[in-house]
């Protein structure tokens, strides 16, 4: 009972475990199923592309080491990454493993191919005397080999035809055994591990196909008399076994290389991190500049950066000025000016001047590290469309084995000549041509390439689900301030009430003083306006911010209320004397704010936030993509409509409170629209969460990386259009991949089974089948890689 109690009280924990040896969707499904069956596991998600298992578990029931054992029992490798391992180190380790895997596969493929070619040549004399091979073969590959190669081989190497058949077959037997045990070993060990767990994958098909061909050949080698007595030629298929292994290994090597390329964007991000930083430290003779490994840096230390150097860690400029190229993180092509007090991001490049800065966030908290982690998680996530492929992969292999058996029976019963041989060859071809790998790779490769491409554009898409949903959106809702507009408003007008006795400068001083405590962007404009004019501000004696209305407080003994009409109504103040002016200012796209002092209307201050250069073009792109564009704002209707007119926005919902934004999105969704919301990650967080796709827009270095489903790293609405376009192209690629993977099997398996034989006399050898199978996986990955070359307007 005590254990039950502790398991109930301990919170769930989560662990990421790197898994080695997974090759297809069935592999990841098997590991995932084994983990999900493990008592204590709350949730498990195994990703084929990232080769990781993310497991949420109850630590009172199962330990991380227990989870590693569970994975190892399925036949795959697993180890626990050290908790100190950063996203950079994890990626470096993954790259090392991938490079090693590629080297090993390539070496094995080359050796097997050479062995296969030798086996093929050595087998020629055996086939020459065999009526099935020489006369009635219906396989185009074998026919070509027999008709074009045999005469030349006989002329070039007559001695080969003098060697007794038994010597050749026994030599081939040992050669094949060697290749199977060395190059093809993992097919058999993994197939066996899967079988023990009542599961089957690509390895099962290769193992059963080549294993059956090998055993048949061994029987024909050891007891040829038994075959001859039954009226069957004792054919051997050693060369087929070796060539199949060589071709599948070649396919796997190409696939490994291509899969590595799908994460090239993530690798480029990781490589942005410099290894050392020039730091000012205290030496025996006072302050000295030393090149220190960045792991040794501490927050607060002073770092020096010269022109052309990469900024090693995040920080805040202390002295000096420069322009910094942040394009690698934000997609912003123009260098950004930096001066004392500005933030700089580690990994960006200093262009013009030298400066000193204070290191702030380091290690796993740095902006670059958070982006790398986000990208890594996104690339390892699943898109909902993957479920279809998962469902098919789950039943695929047993169904293919059943078809192979049925093929054998059908050929055995109906073949006019050499039924056993025909039946056997066709059944092996069915097993070899079937390819569950292409289905497993169709979606994850597209997710990886697409999220990488997005990062290059300064668009961080947080996973397959967000990627898929972004392609479905029909309505895009834009926040006004900081999204459609610059978010840097300035005071444009100050109109005093006719009956006010105050001086204009006095009104500015009092209003700016109270606004120093407000966090609203419009407040900043007023404070900046006063400071630029050298007006000294007072400390407010009282202050309160009223959401959706404005601010109230006391400055220098004067009771102040600054805000909209609703604010005046709260204090029963009549806005009529300035209502016409306020309306006119609003119709010009400015935000009028009424100022009341000691219960009387004093003035109206207008602040305008200019529209961003890129907003008009972005809205045009949204329209081209067929999206309805809606602008949501807390501002008054006139201002909002004026901005919307300038930007070309279809519909405006003005004067909404933050919760009103959520209600509006809810209303749009209830009309059946799929809604994306673009806004800043802080003020618009509830609306971003409510929308189908929340796009958080970054402003300068203040990037809310954790907010929203998509992060637009630069404050440019065109990035939102690029996100939608990228998502649609990715969905198209995923559908092409899935279609190709399905259709390949739907067409390939019946051809291998021999459906074309009655009409065209055409049969497929297992060798051609293995070449087709290798090609199908590679073609799917290559199609996904095309997304890297997509150009956006």
């Amino acid at each position: 009972m005590s254990t039950t109690a502790s398991s109930a009280t301990l919170p769930d924990e989560s662990v990421r475990i790197p898994v080695a040896g997974m090759t297809c969707a069935a592999c990841s499904s098997r590991v995932q199923a084994a983990l999900q069956k493990q008592p204590g596991v709350v949730d498990a998600n195994v990703n084929l592309m990232m080769k990781t298992a993310t497991v949420r578990f109850n630590p009172a029931v199962v330990s991380p080491e227990g989870l590693v054992s569970t994975i190892e029992a399925t036949g795959y490798g697993a180890h626990l990454a050290s908790p100190e391992e950063t996203a950079f180190e994890e990626q470096a380790e993954r790259d090392r493993v991938a490079a090693e895997e590629f080297r090993e596969l390539k070496f094995k493929a080359v050796v097997s191919a050479v062995a296969g070619a030798v086996a093929m040549i050595v087998s020629m004399p055996l086939m020459a005397g065999d009526p099935v091979h020489s006369g009635v073969t219906a396989d185009p590959f074998m026919r070509w080999a027999m008709e074009s190669l045999t005469p030349r081989l006989r002329a070039a190497t007559p001695w080969l035809y003098e060697i007794p058949s038994a010597v050749i077959t026994w030599t081939l037997l040992f050669m094949t055994l060697g290749i199977m045990a060395w190059a093809g070993r993992h097919f058999y060990t993994r197939a066996w591990a899967a079988f023990r767990h009542h599961s089957a994958d690509m390895n099962t098909l290769v193992a059963v196909g080549t294993g059956a061909a090998f055993l048949y050949s061994v029987l024909a080698t050891v007891a040829p008399g038994f075959f001859l007595a039954s009226g069957v030629m004792p054919d051997v298929y050693y060369e087929a076994v070796i060539i199949i292994i060589a071709l599948i290994l070649t396919g796997n090597a190409f696939e490994a290389r291509a899969k590595t390329q799908t994460s090239s964007a993530l690798r480029s991000l990781v490589q942005l991190q410099p290894a050392t930083a020039r730091v000012v430290r205290n030496g025996p003779e006072g302050e000295v500049e030393v090149d220190a490994p960045i792991e040794t840096l501490e927050a607060g230390e002073t770092v020096i950066v010269r022109p052309g150097e990469r900024i090693p860690v995040d920080g805040e400029v202390l002295s000096g000025e420069s322009a910094v190229d942040e394009s690698m993180l934000t997609g912003e092509s123009l260098p950004v000016a930096k001066k004392a007090g500005d933030a700089v991001i580690g990994g960006t490049v200093n262009r013009t001047g030298a400066f000193r800065y204070r290191a702030t966030t380091l290690g796993s908290d740095s902006v670059l590290s958070r982006i790398v982690k986000l990208m890594r998680d996104a690339q390892g996530s699943r898109a909902p469309i993957q479920k279809l492929a998962d469902r098919v992969s789950g039943i695929f292999v047993p169904v293919v084995i059943s078809i192979a058996i049925a093929t054998f029976v059908a050929w055995f019963v109906t073949a006019d000549a050499a039924p056993a041989v025909r039946a056997f060859v066709a059944a092996v071809a069915v097993l070899i041509i079937a390819c569950p790998c292409a289905m497993g790779l169709a979606v994850p490769t597209a997710v990886m390439v697409s999220t990488g491409k997005g990062a290059e554009l300064g668009v961080l898409i947080k996973g397959g689900e967000a990627l898929q949903r972004a392609g479905d959106i029909s309505t895009i809702v834009l926040d006004k301030t900081g999204t459609v507009t610059e978010g840097m408003p300035a005071v444009t007008d100050l109109i005093m009430a006719p009956e006010s006795s105050r001086e204009a400068e006095d009104v500015v001083r009092l209003v700016a003083s109270i606004e120093t405590l407000s966090e609203h962007p419009l407040a900043d404009a007023i404070v900046r306006h006063a400071r630029e004019r050298g007006i000294s501000l007072a400390v407010p004696e009282a202050f309160d911010s009223v959401t959706g209305r404005g601010v109230v407080g006391v400055v220098d003994g004067a009771a102040l209320a600054v805000g909209n009409v609703a604010m005046l109504a709260d204090f029963a103040i009549d806005p009529a004397p300035l209502a016409a002016d306020a309306e006119r200012l609003a119709s010009e796209g400015k935000t009028p704010m009424y100022v009341a002092m000691d219960g009387e209307l004093a003035a109206v201050v207008a602040v305008a936030d200019p529209i961003r250069e890129s907003s008009r073009e972005a809205v045009r792109r949204f329209h081209e993509l067929g999206l309805e564009v809606v602008m949501l704002t807390g501002d008054n209707r006139h201002t909002a409509e004026a901005i919307a007119r300038q930007a070309g926005i279809d519909r405006v919902v003005a004067e909404v409170l933050p919760d009103g934004k959520v209600a509006e999105i809810d209303r749009l969704q209830s009309e059946g629209k799929v809604v994306a919301m673009v806004g800043d990650g802080i003020n618009d967080a509830p609306a971003l969460a409510k929308s189908d796709v929340g796009m958080a827009i970054g402003t300068g270095t203040d990037i809310a990386v954790e907010a929203g489903d998509v992060v637009l790293m630069r404050g440019d609405l065109r990035a939102a259009a690029q996100a939608v376009e990228l998502s649609r192209r990715t969905m198209r690629t995923m559908k092409q991949n899935l279609f190709w993977a399905f259709i390949y099997n739907v067409i390939g398996i019946p051809i291998a089974a021999g459906v074309l034989y009655p009409a065209f006399g055409l049969l497929l050898s297992p060798i051609l089948a293995s070449a087709a199978m290798a090609f199908s996986s590679v073609s799917v990955v290559a199609n996904s890689l095309r997304l890297r070359r997509v150009k956006f307007a």
Binding site: V61, H198, I395, P398, S402, V409
Partner: protein, 45 residues
């Protein structure tokens, strides 16, 4: 086309093999999971 005794044998063996493959991968594989889940539900610790 006449079906010989050996043909009948191959047909029956083929049907049996298909049945076994489907039973092994789709039915037998689920039993341990279901049993494990039941045991886990009985004793959540």
């Amino acid at each position: 086309m006449t079906i010989s005794g050996i043909d009948w044998l191959v047909i029956v063996a083929g049907i049996a093999a298909i049945a076994w493959v489907n039973w092994y991968f789709f039915v037998a594989g689920r039993k341990p999971a279901a049993l494990q889940r039941e045991q886990h539900d009985d004793n959540p610790s």
